[in-house]
Symmetry: C2
Subunit: 207 residues, 2 copies
């Protein structure tokens, strides 16, 4: 419930009074339990974020036990699935929006929490991808992981944008379709051989 | 200058008083010129956003005149270049952060402006991609355009995330490198043939 208030208004705009009203408790109760607005925000982020990160880790370990040799698409799908599943529940969906806006919140709030929650599982996935893509240098895989996180967060946190651009031809609320499209796109992006940009293209740079 | 205030604190958190102080003008002057905080926000978004959108359109038309047959990578590079260039100037960089958080701002502020500024040029690019990728259905190209916008906005609006995940092995502030990595990744994502997910992978879905 508080997820929705933070997701909609951001940290600065969120109001403990509104959160209390919607939850049917006084601000005093919220202060008693969480200390401050920042405390409540952290609690929510840690709770929901850890659920995604733990699920990612558990699923990857299970997949590794089941099969000797994984494909890039299997790894990518396993990474995406917990976030897509969370998106199906309204409070979960609000958390996804919250997560998408973390990188635009003041740094002191966002960076530490995000690192705490996601860094270990994300690096596990980069390591798993490095095993099946030994020809791709690790620094490039990190770039590609960041692109992939950006791609999925943007797509699932704002279905409107796809509606607008496609004028209704594509629907981001069809989560099975969205997941399939993401797996194919991310899989290709992770797997493509590294190449230098052609001299012709470089000539187009403005500086 | 006002870009930085909005980018840092979001619409709700931004203060006309602070913006006025930094610009050395009174709040009354700001109110006189822009009507309200929302008016100032719109003005900034329209000004900077249009600069990117216009540059994208101009460059695509120029490229089409120069060559008969374009590659996916050339189209993608032309799309990305104006945003990467804007990122090199501090107020421009603040606008990129602002743009990245648009999809998490209250809808009434964000959606209309964004549509007004970016829809035409973005559809022009999808059309150009559809020409060189006739085998990819248009609805899938729209999905891939949204993934691509998410990937580049996330990567250029928050260099910290790459530092954290890669533990310093990759540097998003090397803009030439970032652009090359983006072009390769997005190029592959746009071009990959459409395929259904394998039945085995579908079995892993939790619902």
């Amino acid at each position: 419930m508080a997820e929705r208030e933070f997701a909609q208004r951001g940290f600065a705009g969120a109001s403990l009074r509104r959160i209390g009203e919607q939850a049917g408790v006084s601000q005093a109760v919220i202060h008693y339990h969480f200390g401050s607005k920042e405390g409540l925000f952290q609690e929510i982020f840690l709770h929901r974020g850890r659920a995604i990160a733990d699920e990612r880790t558990t699923r990857l370990l299970r997949l590794r036990r089941e099969r000797r040799k994984l494909t890039v698409e299997e790894i990518v799908r396993t990474f995406l699935q917990p976030a897509i599943d969370m998106k199906r529940d309204p409070d979960g969906a609000a958390f996804i929006r919250l997560q998408a806006r973390m990188h635009t919140e003041p740094e002191e709030i966002g960076n530490v929490l995000r690192r705490q929650v996601f860094d270990v599982s994300t690096r596990l996935y980069v390591d798993a991808l490095a095993e099946v893509l030994p020809q791709i240098p690790k620094p490039t895989l990190y770039f590609r992981m960041i692109f992939s996180v950006g791609a999925y967060l943007y797509a699932i946190s704002d279905a409107h944008r796809l509606d607008e651009v496609s004028q209704g031809a594509s629907d981001a609320r069809d989560f099975d379709r969205l997941l399939d499209e993401l797996v194919t796109y991310l899989g290709a992006g992770f797997s493509v051989p590294v190449r230098k940009s052609p001299p012709a293209a470089r000539g187009h740079r403005s500086r």
